[in-house]
Amino acid sequence: MNDAPDLDSPVGGRTDPDASVPDTPTSPGDTSATTVAVALDGSVQRLDPRIRRLWVVAPGIPLTLIAVAVAVVALVRDATGLVVAAPFVVLAVMLVLLAVWAVLRWRCWRWSVWPDAIELSYGVIVRTESLVPFHRIQQIDIRRGPLERLVGLASLEVHTAAATSDAWIPAVDEDLADPLRRALLERAGVDDAT
């Protein structure tokens, strides 16, 4: 098979990293379904950009709570204003770092669909690239945590017979998740037993 395309200049498919999926109405009168086109030639897809917010908010909430708790304790102990403000300064720094990390992670996360396989590439420091051929797919799970539901995202987990297979697409638009899953399963020739 050919080598993976140069990931910075994808061939065909979506090139705009900030749009999730282009909507192509099937015909002017048909407003019942939009057809979403995903190229089968290994062109690179990115994660839905809303995941960046999630990657900041998810750890951010407990951090904020901790900062507030520390500040309250300091207040109770009649500390100076500077000491009370310190946790919030630390919190702000950490949120900035989280945001930077989230953007880096999003930029490094790529997935593409070939005619016979799904290929993933992720990791900021340690880069991992994995390939799952369609004929090995046993099932695909859709997972939507509470925060993901708020933001409107879903993640797909692709399972093979191996416990160590790690094909996982953490952020697709929630409306896209089920049709994409069904299309992948159909492509893989696996009966969708739901």
């Binding site: 909507d23 379904a33 089968l40 004929h135 090995r136 191996a162 160590t164």
Partner: protein, 567 residues
């Protein structure tokens, strides 16, 4: 508005490239749908070929396991009672009487545990039933929380019979069924059946599985269970050698030697004698290692006593054990991986350990593999050919890794030895027992020794590592202290992965891993050339659909064994 529909856009192929290959049709991929099985009395078929089982197999009505199971529960209660009596008579004389305060609390906890276990075994026996249905085995168990476990015959992969020491005395056996390993299904265990019944049940289950999964059913009389053909039996001397030269023993002995060296060095270098606490710590550490070696050797020996390998039709059957006997069967068609492992001592002796793995359910400890404790390296090819029926499992010659991998291997080991040495020196120098100049000299000495050890170690590691790829299998090998070579059929690869740290990326290296069905760790090679790794990752899982199986399609299990039986 209805949810969007996903449509596949196929870009026109670039000129000159071949058309994309069609995916395998669902019919080829799924297991063949069998014709409904003929059901003349299964028991009759087996009565023809086996000794009459002590109890008919439960085909229609649910049946309990052997009533002696309740006895084993009673045994626990008996031990608890004996403990009570023993404690009562030893703590104080009976004339003086004794009170609750005399009863040590730990003993009480142990007794409570024993009684609970005994009651659950005894009462649980009453509530445990199993029955054989048309196409599955159903086990109902549980006193308060009822659980039903179902084992479909078609997906049955392995049936293991194990007999603990008490079970051997009483004539019982535990049967464990495992199905083809999804990560999440656990093995189902049936405790305890009469051991003859366990054998009959297993033969029947495996034969039924074979009958349900074969593609054509002829109208002739049912086949008798295939005869068992011995492949290999290991003599006690070889088993002792295997137990003594295990890698864990090697590591423990190595640590003990290192501790002894450090101790003597400290005695020599420290003028007023080394601090007693550290001496005591090191000495007790050495004794602990020695104890670990002894314990490990004895345990391994008991575990592999009278090791035998045979084939029965398509299944490999292995028997071993003294106190707990295990009888493991593994279908050859389900073998996912063969691994050859050795350590420096075994390599010097020219022997190797071979393990044959099938898809392991998560949490299975020894369930899904047959381990051949020790074989001569020269006999491995013959053994694999006889046991697996084809020569394609024989480990192919390896391609070594590239020069940057050698440098990294050496560097890693030198750094590791240096860190360890510095740690040891600092630990012994901290109490202020060494002068500054001596400390500096020691640190320099540590660096020299680390280099002297690390460089040859790294070179040997590089020489023994590599990868290979034939038309049917892919093989990775790595390691020195524990050297493992994996042979994995390409058509069993589930998915593949390459990983690269920034240091690896800088020199054009990567780690390549091929996933195996089940919960077994994926065979992988560290520091492989990145281009080759990427090539393997992209090509092999795709070829898994079309690569020829290492098992020939017309595999004839009745072929004569060409391998000498006793080694």
């Amino acid at each position: 508005m209805r949810p969007p529909v996903v449509a596949w856009l196929t870009a026109p192929p670039p000129p000159g490239s071949p058309p994309p290959a069609p995916g395998p049709s669902p019919a080829e991929r799924s297991t063949a749908t069998p014709a409904p099985p003929r059901r003349s009395s299964p028991l009759e078929e087996f009565a023809l070929h086996q000794n009459e089982p002590p109890q008919p197999l439960p085909f229609d009505a649910p049946s309990r396991t052997s009533p002696l199971t309740a006895l084993s529960g009673g045994l626990y209660i008996l031990i608890a009672v004996a403990l009570t009596v023993g404690t009562m008579s030893s703590v104080r004389g009976a004339a003086e009487g004794w009170g609750p305060a005399d009863f040590p609390i730990t003993l009480l906890l142990v007794q409570i545990g024993l009684v609970v276990r005994g009651l659950s075994d005894t009462v649980g026996w009453w509530f445990r039933t199993y029955r054989l249905e048309e196409d599955q085995l159903v086990l109902d168990q549980g006193i308060l929380a009822r659980r039903r476990k179902v084992v479909p015959y078609r997906r049955l992969q392995q049936v293991d019979i194990s007999r603990g020491p008490v079970a051997q005395l009483v004539g019982l056996a535990a049967v464990r069924f495992s199905t083809a390993g999804d990560a999440g299904s656990s093995a189902v265990t049936l405790r305890y059946l009469d051991h003859r019944q366990a054998e009959v049940l297993r033969s029947w289950l495996l034969a039924t599985r074979d009958r349900l999964t074969e593609e054509t059913t002829d109208g002739g009389p049912s086949r008798p269970p295939p005869p068992e053909r011995p492949i290999l039996a290991l003599e006690p001397a070889r088993l002792v050698l295997a137990a003594v030269t295990s890698t864990s023993n090697l590591i423990l002995v190595g640590i003990a030697l290192l501790a002894a060296v450090v101790l003597t060095g400290a005695n020599v270098l420290i003028p007023e004698g080394p601090p007693a606490r550290l001496v005591g710590l090191t000495t007790s550490g050495i004794f602990l290692m020695a104890f670990g070696v002894a314990l490990g050797t004895v345990t391994t020996l008991l575990d592999t006593w009278q090791w035998e390998l045979a084939s029965r039709g398509d299944d490999l059957v292995s028997r071993r054990g003294l106190l707990t006997t295990r009888n493991v069967s593994l279908p050859r068609r389900r073998v996912q991986l063969v691994m050859l492992s050795d350590n420096p001592v075994r390599r010097a002796l020219g022997v190797v350990q071979v393990s044959v793995d099938s898809a392991a359910p998560a949490g299975a400890s020894d369930g899904a593999r047959i381990v051949i404790p020790l074989v001569d390296r020269a006999h491995v090819a013959d053994l694999l050919q006889t046991a697996m029926g084809t020569d394609q499992w024989v480990p192919p010659p390896l391609t070594p890794r590239t020069a940057p991998a050698l440098r990294r291997a050496v560097l890693r080991r030198v750094v590791l030895c240096a860190l360890l040495g510095v740690l040891l020196v600092v630990a012994w120098a901290v109490p202020g027992t060494l002068s500054d100049s001596m400390l500096a000299g020691l640190l320099v000495g540590v660096l020299v020794v680390a280099t002297a050890i690390g460089v040859p170690w790294g070179r040997v590691a590089h020489a023994r590592a590599g990868w290979a790829r034939t038309g049917t299998v892919v093989s990775f090998a790595a390691g020195v202290i524990s050297h493992v070579q994996s042979v994995q059929p390409i058509n069993r690869i589930q998915s593949a992965r390459t990983t690269a740290s920034p240091f690896q990326r800088r020199v054009g290296l990567a780690t390549c891993a091929m996933d195996v069905a089940g919960a077994t760790g994926a065979p992988s090679l560290y520091d492989m050339d990145a281009v080759e790794a990427r090539h393997l990752r992209q090509e092999l899982p795709r070829r898994a659909a079309v690569a020829p199986a290492p098992m020939p399609a017309d595999f004839e299990p009745e072929a004569e064994s060409q391998f000498s039986v006793v080694e």
